[in-house]
Symmetry: C2
Subunit: 213 residues, 2 copies
Protein backbone atom coordinates (compact mmCIF):
# COMPACT_ATOMS: atom_id res chain seq x y z
CA UNK A 1 0.00 0.00 0.00
CA UNK A 2 1.08 3.58 -0.54
CA UNK A 3 2.83 5.28 2.33
CA UNK A 4 0.43 8.22 2.10
CA UNK A 5 -2.58 5.98 2.57
CA UNK A 6 -0.96 4.20 5.47
CA UNK A 7 -0.17 7.50 7.14
CA UNK A 8 -3.73 8.65 6.56
CA UNK A 9 -5.28 5.51 8.02
CA UNK A 10 -2.96 5.45 10.97
CA UNK A 11 -3.64 9.05 11.88
CA UNK A 12 -7.35 8.70 11.26
CA UNK A 13 -7.62 5.64 13.48
CA UNK A 14 -5.68 7.39 16.22
CA UNK A 15 -7.97 10.40 16.04
CA UNK A 16 -11.16 8.33 15.99
CA UNK A 17 -9.96 6.20 18.89
CA UNK A 18 -9.15 9.30 20.88
CA UNK A 19 -5.44 8.50 21.13
CA UNK A 20 -4.79 11.83 19.48
CA UNK A 21 -6.91 14.15 21.57
CA UNK A 22 -8.55 17.31 20.25
CA UNK A 23 -6.10 20.17 20.30
CA UNK A 24 -3.11 17.95 19.58
CA UNK A 25 -0.76 19.65 17.16
CA UNK A 26 0.42 17.45 14.30
CA UNK A 27 3.63 18.75 12.80
CA UNK A 28 4.88 17.33 9.54
CA UNK A 29 8.45 16.55 10.54
CA UNK A 30 7.39 15.12 13.89
CA UNK A 31 4.80 12.82 12.31
CA UNK A 32 7.07 11.80 9.47
CA UNK A 33 9.71 10.55 11.90
CA UNK A 34 7.09 8.89 14.09
CA UNK A 35 5.40 7.11 11.17
CA UNK A 36 8.68 6.33 9.44
CA UNK A 37 7.87 8.04 6.15
CA UNK A 38 8.94 11.33 4.63
CA UNK A 39 7.07 14.59 4.84
CA UNK A 40 5.40 14.18 1.44
CA UNK A 41 3.00 11.34 2.36
CA UNK A 42 2.41 12.92 5.76
CA UNK A 43 1.36 16.16 4.09
CA UNK A 44 -0.98 14.21 1.87
CA UNK A 45 -2.50 12.46 4.88
CA UNK A 46 -2.96 15.73 6.76
CA UNK A 47 -4.65 17.34 3.75
CA UNK A 48 -7.06 14.46 3.51
CA UNK A 49 -7.79 14.55 7.23
CA UNK A 50 -8.48 18.27 6.88
CA UNK A 51 -10.91 17.53 4.05
CA UNK A 52 -12.60 15.02 6.37
CA UNK A 53 -12.87 17.69 9.04
CA UNK A 54 -10.85 15.69 11.56
CA UNK A 55 -8.00 18.18 11.66
CA UNK A 56 -7.73 21.87 10.93
CA UNK A 57 -4.85 23.88 9.49
CA UNK A 58 -4.12 26.48 12.11
CA UNK A 59 -1.33 28.79 11.12
CA UNK A 60 1.50 26.87 12.68
CA UNK A 61 0.85 23.17 12.35
CA UNK A 62 -2.29 21.13 11.97
CA UNK A 63 -4.58 20.69 14.97
CA UNK A 64 -6.95 17.83 15.79
CA UNK A 65 -10.44 19.31 15.85
CA UNK A 66 -12.61 19.25 18.92
CA UNK A 67 -16.09 17.78 19.16
CA UNK A 68 -18.20 20.37 20.89
CA UNK A 69 -21.78 19.92 21.97
CA UNK A 70 -22.94 22.13 19.09
CA UNK A 71 -21.01 19.93 16.67
CA UNK A 72 -22.90 16.88 17.88
CA UNK A 73 -26.22 18.61 17.28
CA UNK A 74 -25.07 19.80 13.86
CA UNK A 75 -23.86 16.37 12.90
CA UNK A 76 -27.16 14.79 13.85
CA UNK A 77 -29.06 17.34 11.78
CA UNK A 78 -27.06 16.25 8.77
CA UNK A 79 -27.38 12.58 9.68
CA UNK A 80 -31.14 12.91 9.83
CA UNK A 81 -31.29 14.48 6.39
CA UNK A 82 -29.00 11.87 4.85
CA UNK A 83 -29.96 8.71 6.68
CA UNK A 84 -33.72 9.31 6.54
CA UNK A 85 -33.42 9.80 2.81
CA UNK A 86 -31.16 6.78 2.44
CA UNK A 87 -33.48 4.54 4.46
CA UNK A 88 -36.43 5.67 2.37
CA UNK A 89 -34.63 4.97 -0.89
CA UNK A 90 -33.39 1.62 0.40
CA UNK A 91 -36.99 0.68 1.20
CA UNK A 92 -37.90 1.41 -2.40
CA UNK A 93 -35.05 -0.43 -4.07
CA UNK A 94 -33.16 -3.24 -2.42
CA UNK A 95 -32.47 -6.94 -2.49
CA UNK A 96 -34.06 -8.71 0.47
CA UNK A 97 -31.21 -11.10 1.23
CA UNK A 98 -28.70 -8.82 3.00
CA UNK A 99 -31.42 -7.20 5.10
CA UNK A 100 -32.89 -10.56 6.10
CA UNK A 101 -29.43 -11.62 7.26
CA UNK A 102 -28.96 -8.41 9.24
CA UNK A 103 -32.41 -8.75 10.77
CA UNK A 104 -31.52 -12.19 12.10
CA UNK A 105 -28.28 -10.90 13.53
CA UNK A 106 -29.97 -7.91 15.14
CA UNK A 107 -32.40 -10.23 16.90
CA UNK A 108 -29.43 -11.81 18.61
CA UNK A 109 -28.03 -8.43 19.61
CA UNK A 110 -29.37 -8.37 23.19
CA UNK A 111 -27.55 -11.63 23.98
CA UNK A 112 -24.46 -10.26 22.26
CA UNK A 113 -24.50 -7.10 24.35
CA UNK A 114 -24.47 -9.15 27.51
CA UNK A 115 -21.11 -10.64 26.54
CA UNK A 116 -18.88 -7.71 27.35
CA UNK A 117 -16.27 -6.16 25.12
CA UNK A 118 -16.20 -8.71 22.31
CA UNK A 119 -19.98 -8.68 22.08
CA UNK A 120 -19.81 -4.92 21.79
CA UNK A 121 -17.45 -5.18 18.85
CA UNK A 122 -19.72 -7.75 17.21
CA UNK A 123 -22.72 -5.49 17.74
CA UNK A 124 -21.06 -2.49 16.12
CA UNK A 125 -20.09 -4.76 13.22
CA UNK A 126 -23.79 -5.45 12.64
CA UNK A 127 -24.58 -1.74 12.65
CA UNK A 128 -21.74 -1.06 10.21
CA UNK A 129 -22.99 -3.84 7.95
CA UNK A 130 -26.46 -2.31 8.04
CA UNK A 131 -24.98 1.01 6.93
CA UNK A 132 -23.16 -0.79 4.12
CA UNK A 133 -26.29 -2.67 3.08
CA UNK A 134 -28.30 0.55 2.91
CA UNK A 135 -25.54 2.26 0.99
CA UNK A 136 -25.40 -0.62 -1.49
CA UNK A 137 -29.19 -0.69 -1.87
CA UNK A 138 -29.41 3.04 -2.48
CA UNK A 139 -26.71 2.81 -5.16
CA UNK A 140 -26.10 6.55 -5.18
CA UNK A 141 -22.42 7.51 -5.23
CA UNK A 142 -23.03 11.10 -4.10
CA UNK A 143 -25.20 10.06 -1.19
CA UNK A 144 -22.70 7.31 -0.36
CA UNK A 145 -19.86 9.81 -0.09
CA UNK A 146 -21.90 12.07 2.16
CA UNK A 147 -22.94 9.11 4.32
CA UNK A 148 -19.37 7.97 4.73
CA UNK A 149 -18.43 11.42 5.93
CA UNK A 150 -21.05 11.43 8.67
CA UNK A 151 -20.19 7.85 9.63
CA UNK A 152 -16.64 8.99 10.17
CA UNK A 153 -17.67 11.65 12.63
CA UNK A 154 -20.32 9.42 14.18
CA UNK A 155 -17.64 6.85 14.95
CA UNK A 156 -15.86 9.53 16.90
CA UNK A 157 -18.77 10.20 19.22
CA UNK A 158 -19.85 6.57 19.31
CA UNK A 159 -17.37 6.16 22.13
CA UNK A 160 -19.76 8.23 24.24
CA UNK A 161 -22.46 5.54 24.28
CA UNK A 162 -19.98 2.70 24.30
CA UNK A 163 -20.40 1.98 27.97
CA UNK A 164 -24.17 2.30 28.15
CA UNK A 165 -25.57 -1.23 27.56
CA UNK A 166 -29.14 -0.16 28.18
CA UNK A 167 -28.98 2.45 25.43
CA UNK A 168 -27.31 -0.01 23.07
CA UNK A 169 -30.07 -2.58 23.59
CA UNK A 170 -32.65 0.08 22.80
CA UNK A 171 -30.65 1.13 19.74
CA UNK A 172 -30.61 -2.46 18.50
CA UNK A 173 -34.41 -2.48 18.72
CA UNK A 174 -34.60 0.78 16.76
CA UNK A 175 -32.32 -0.63 14.09
CA UNK A 176 -34.55 -3.68 13.87
CA UNK A 177 -37.52 -1.41 13.22
CA UNK A 178 -35.65 0.29 10.40
CA UNK A 179 -34.72 -3.03 8.82
CA UNK A 180 -38.30 -4.26 9.09
CA UNK A 181 -39.56 -1.08 7.43
CA UNK A 182 -37.07 -1.51 4.59
CA UNK A 183 -38.06 -5.15 4.14
CA UNK A 184 -41.71 -4.05 4.14
CA UNK A 185 -40.76 -1.65 1.33
CA UNK A 186 -42.34 1.20 3.26
CA UNK A 187 -40.16 4.29 2.56
CA UNK A 188 -42.02 6.65 4.84
CA UNK A 189 -41.86 4.25 7.76
CA UNK A 190 -38.17 3.59 7.14
CA UNK A 191 -37.49 7.33 7.13
CA UNK A 192 -39.46 7.98 10.26
CA UNK A 193 -37.96 5.02 12.09
CA UNK A 194 -34.54 6.42 11.23
CA UNK A 195 -35.61 9.82 12.49
CA UNK A 196 -36.75 8.28 15.76
CA UNK A 197 -33.53 6.32 16.13
CA UNK A 198 -31.38 9.39 15.54
CA UNK A 199 -33.45 11.43 17.97
CA UNK A 200 -32.93 8.86 20.71
CA UNK A 201 -29.28 8.50 19.87
CA UNK A 202 -28.73 12.25 19.96
CA UNK A 203 -30.53 12.61 23.26
CA UNK A 204 -28.30 9.94 24.75
CA UNK A 205 -25.13 11.39 23.26
CA UNK A 206 -25.91 14.84 24.65
CA UNK A 207 -26.70 13.45 28.08
CA UNK A 208 -23.48 11.43 28.09
CA UNK A 209 -21.35 14.35 26.93
CA UNK A 210 -22.95 16.54 29.63
CA UNK A 211 -21.96 13.94 32.23
CA UNK A 212 -18.44 13.82 30.89
CA UNK A 213 -18.13 17.60 31.05
Amino acid sequence: MRAGDRAYRTLRTEILDGELEPGTVLQEVEQSTRLGVSRTPVREALRQLAADGLVEASGRGTVVTAVERDDIVSLYELREALEAKAAGLAAQRHEDAPFLAIRDRLREAPQLLAQGEEGLVAYFAIVDDLDDAIEAAVANPFLATALRSVQLHSARIRRLSRHNPERLRAAAGEHLLIVDAILARDPELASHATHVHLHMSLTNALATSADAA
Copy 2:
Protein backbone atom coordinates in the same frame (compact mmCIF):
# COMPACT_ATOMS: atom_id res chain seq x y z
CA MET B 1 -1.83 32.85 -2.41
CA ARG B 2 -0.34 29.37 -2.29
CA ALA B 3 0.56 27.75 -5.58
CA GLY B 4 -1.37 24.63 -4.63
CA ASP B 5 -4.57 26.59 -4.12
CA ARG B 6 -4.10 28.46 -7.36
CA ALA B 7 -3.60 25.19 -9.24
CA TYR B 8 -6.69 23.75 -7.58
CA ARG B 9 -8.87 26.73 -8.43
CA THR B 10 -7.63 26.94 -11.98
CA LEU B 11 -8.24 23.27 -12.68
CA ARG B 12 -11.59 23.32 -10.91
CA THR B 13 -12.81 26.31 -12.91
CA GLU B 14 -11.68 24.69 -16.14
CA ILE B 15 -13.54 21.49 -15.29
CA LEU B 16 -16.71 23.30 -14.22
CA ASP B 17 -16.67 25.46 -17.33
CA GLY B 18 -16.24 22.43 -19.52
CA GLU B 19 -12.89 23.53 -20.89
CA LEU B 20 -11.48 20.30 -19.56
CA GLU B 21 -13.94 17.78 -20.91
CA PRO B 22 -14.80 14.51 -19.18
CA GLY B 23 -12.27 11.85 -20.05
CA THR B 24 -9.41 14.32 -20.27
CA VAL B 25 -6.27 12.86 -18.72
CA LEU B 26 -4.47 15.21 -16.35
CA GLN B 27 -0.85 14.22 -15.94
CA GLU B 28 1.22 15.77 -13.23
CA VAL B 29 4.23 16.84 -15.28
CA GLU B 30 2.08 18.13 -18.12
CA GLN B 31 -0.09 20.22 -15.79
CA SER B 32 2.86 21.47 -13.79
CA THR B 33 4.50 22.92 -16.92
CA ARG B 34 1.19 24.33 -18.15
CA LEU B 35 0.36 25.97 -14.83
CA GLY B 36 3.92 27.07 -14.22
CA VAL B 37 4.35 25.35 -10.84
CA SER B 38 6.12 22.20 -9.78
CA ARG B 39 4.56 18.79 -9.43
CA THR B 40 4.03 19.11 -5.67
CA PRO B 41 1.24 21.71 -5.77
CA VAL B 42 -0.28 20.03 -8.82
CA ARG B 43 -0.45 16.74 -6.94
CA GLU B 44 -2.13 18.52 -4.07
CA ALA B 45 -4.67 20.08 -6.43
CA LEU B 46 -5.42 16.76 -8.11
CA ARG B 47 -5.93 15.07 -4.76
CA GLN B 48 -8.38 17.73 -3.73
CA LEU B 49 -10.24 17.50 -7.03
CA ALA B 50 -10.45 13.75 -6.53
CA ALA B 51 -11.93 14.32 -3.07
CA ASP B 52 -14.47 16.64 -4.71
CA GLY B 53 -15.33 13.91 -7.20
CA LEU B 54 -14.40 16.04 -10.20
CA VAL B 55 -11.52 13.80 -11.23
CA GLU B 56 -10.74 10.16 -10.64
CA ALA B 57 -7.43 8.40 -10.21
CA SER B 58 -7.41 5.84 -12.97
CA GLY B 59 -4.31 3.71 -12.78
CA ARG B 60 -2.04 5.86 -14.85
CA GLY B 61 -2.98 9.50 -14.64
CA THR B 62 -6.01 11.33 -13.33
CA VAL B 63 -9.11 11.55 -15.47
CA VAL B 64 -11.84 14.18 -15.48
CA THR B 65 -15.05 12.40 -14.45
CA ALA B 66 -18.05 12.23 -16.71
CA VAL B 67 -21.55 13.39 -15.82
CA GLU B 68 -23.87 10.59 -16.86
CA ARG B 69 -27.63 10.71 -16.75
CA ASP B 70 -27.62 8.44 -13.69
CA ASP B 71 -25.23 10.84 -11.98
CA ILE B 72 -27.66 13.70 -12.47
CA VAL B 73 -30.47 11.70 -10.88
CA SER B 74 -28.20 10.66 -8.02
CA LEU B 75 -27.04 14.20 -7.44
CA TYR B 76 -30.59 15.47 -7.28
CA GLU B 77 -31.52 12.80 -4.76
CA LEU B 78 -28.78 14.10 -2.51
CA ARG B 79 -29.69 17.71 -3.23
CA GLU B 80 -33.25 17.04 -2.21
CA ALA B 81 -32.18 15.53 1.10
CA LEU B 82 -29.77 18.34 1.88
CA GLU B 83 -31.53 21.39 0.49
CA ALA B 84 -34.97 20.47 1.78
CA LYS B 85 -33.48 20.05 5.24
CA ALA B 86 -31.49 23.27 4.92
CA ALA B 87 -34.51 25.27 3.77
CA GLY B 88 -36.54 23.91 6.66
CA LEU B 89 -33.87 24.81 9.19
CA ALA B 90 -33.41 28.24 7.63
CA ALA B 91 -37.13 28.85 8.01
CA GLN B 92 -36.80 28.08 11.72
CA ARG B 93 -33.76 30.20 12.42
CA HIS B 94 -32.72 33.14 10.29
CA GLU B 95 -32.34 36.89 10.18
CA ASP B 96 -34.92 38.47 7.90
CA ALA B 97 -32.67 41.09 6.31
CA PRO B 98 -30.68 39.02 3.81
CA PHE B 99 -33.76 37.12 2.66
CA LEU B 100 -35.75 40.33 2.22
CA ALA B 101 -32.95 41.66 0.03
CA ILE B 102 -32.84 38.48 -2.02
CA ARG B 103 -36.61 38.51 -2.40
CA ASP B 104 -36.48 41.99 -3.90
CA ARG B 105 -33.75 40.97 -6.30
CA LEU B 106 -35.60 37.81 -7.32
CA ARG B 107 -38.65 39.88 -8.19
CA GLU B 108 -36.52 41.70 -10.74
CA ALA B 109 -35.22 38.44 -12.17
CA PRO B 110 -37.60 38.20 -15.15
CA GLN B 111 -36.42 41.59 -16.42
CA LEU B 112 -32.85 40.53 -15.79
CA LEU B 113 -33.25 37.32 -17.79
CA ALA B 114 -34.39 39.34 -20.80
CA GLN B 115 -31.03 41.11 -20.90
CA GLY B 116 -28.95 38.37 -22.41
CA GLU B 117 -25.65 37.08 -21.13
CA GLU B 118 -24.91 39.68 -18.46
CA GLY B 119 -28.42 39.34 -17.05
CA LEU B 120 -27.84 35.62 -16.85
CA VAL B 121 -24.71 36.12 -14.80
CA ALA B 122 -26.57 38.52 -12.52
CA TYR B 123 -29.37 36.00 -12.08
CA PHE B 124 -27.02 33.18 -11.12
CA ALA B 125 -25.40 35.56 -8.65
CA ILE B 126 -28.77 35.93 -6.91
CA VAL B 127 -29.20 32.17 -6.73
CA ASP B 128 -25.70 31.78 -5.32
CA ASP B 129 -26.41 34.48 -2.74
CA LEU B 130 -29.57 32.66 -1.74
CA ASP B 131 -27.54 29.49 -1.21
CA ASP B 132 -25.11 31.47 0.90
CA ALA B 133 -27.90 33.09 2.92
CA ILE B 134 -29.47 29.70 3.65
CA GLU B 135 -26.11 28.27 4.59
CA ALA B 136 -25.44 31.19 6.94
CA ALA B 137 -28.90 30.94 8.50
CA VAL B 138 -28.61 27.20 9.09
CA ALA B 139 -25.24 27.72 10.79
CA ASN B 140 -24.33 24.04 10.57
CA PRO B 141 -20.77 23.39 9.44
CA PHE B 142 -21.38 19.75 8.52
CA LEU B 143 -24.43 20.57 6.46
CA ALA B 144 -22.56 23.50 4.93
CA THR B 145 -19.75 21.25 3.74
CA ALA B 146 -22.20 18.79 2.21
CA LEU B 147 -24.10 21.62 0.53
CA ARG B 148 -20.95 23.06 -0.96
CA SER B 149 -20.15 19.70 -2.45
CA VAL B 150 -23.48 19.43 -4.23
CA GLN B 151 -23.29 23.05 -5.35
CA LEU B 152 -19.99 22.21 -7.01
CA HIS B 153 -21.52 19.44 -9.05
CA SER B 154 -24.69 21.42 -9.66
CA ALA B 155 -22.63 24.20 -11.20
CA ARG B 156 -21.32 21.66 -13.65
CA ILE B 157 -24.75 20.70 -14.95
CA ARG B 158 -26.13 24.21 -14.66
CA ARG B 159 -24.69 24.78 -18.11
CA LEU B 160 -27.43 22.48 -19.40
CA SER B 161 -30.21 24.92 -18.55
CA ARG B 162 -28.14 27.97 -19.30
CA HIS B 163 -29.76 28.60 -22.65
CA ASN B 164 -33.34 27.96 -21.64
CA PRO B 165 -34.77 31.36 -20.60
CA GLU B 166 -38.25 29.98 -20.08
CA ARG B 167 -37.00 27.44 -17.55
CA LEU B 168 -34.92 30.08 -15.79
CA ARG B 169 -37.90 32.38 -15.38
CA ALA B 170 -39.87 29.53 -13.87
CA ALA B 171 -36.93 28.69 -11.59
CA ALA B 172 -36.82 32.30 -10.38
CA GLY B 173 -40.46 31.98 -9.39
CA GLU B 174 -39.75 28.75 -7.52
CA HIS B 175 -36.87 30.38 -5.67
CA LEU B 176 -39.18 33.22 -4.72
CA LEU B 177 -41.59 30.72 -3.20
CA ILE B 178 -38.78 29.23 -1.13
CA VAL B 179 -37.69 32.65 0.11
CA ASP B 180 -41.27 33.56 1.00
CA ALA B 181 -41.66 30.31 2.94
CA ILE B 182 -38.46 30.97 4.85
CA LEU B 183 -39.56 34.52 5.65
CA ALA B 184 -42.93 33.14 6.79
CA ARG B 185 -40.95 30.85 9.10
CA ASP B 186 -42.79 27.84 7.73
CA PRO B 187 -40.27 24.97 7.67
CA GLU B 188 -42.52 22.43 6.04
CA LEU B 189 -43.51 24.80 3.26
CA ALA B 190 -39.88 25.78 2.71
CA SER B 191 -38.89 22.11 2.45
CA HIS B 192 -41.69 21.24 0.09
CA ALA B 193 -41.11 24.31 -2.08
CA THR B 194 -37.48 23.22 -2.35
CA HIS B 195 -38.60 19.71 -3.26
CA VAL B 196 -40.82 21.11 -5.99
CA HIS B 197 -38.07 23.32 -7.33
CA LEU B 198 -35.59 20.47 -7.48
CA HIS B 199 -38.13 18.22 -9.16
CA MET B 200 -38.73 20.78 -11.90
CA SER B 201 -35.04 21.47 -12.23
CA LEU B 202 -34.22 17.78 -12.56
CA THR B 203 -36.93 17.23 -15.13
CA ASN B 204 -35.52 20.05 -17.20
CA ALA B 205 -31.94 18.90 -16.81
CA LEU B 206 -32.80 15.38 -17.92
CA ALA B 207 -34.76 16.65 -20.91
CA THR B 208 -31.89 18.91 -21.91
CA SER B 209 -29.26 16.22 -21.52
CA ALA B 210 -31.45 13.86 -23.59
CA ASP B 211 -31.56 16.48 -26.35
CA ALA B 212 -27.81 16.92 -26.21
CA ALA B 213 -27.26 13.19 -26.49
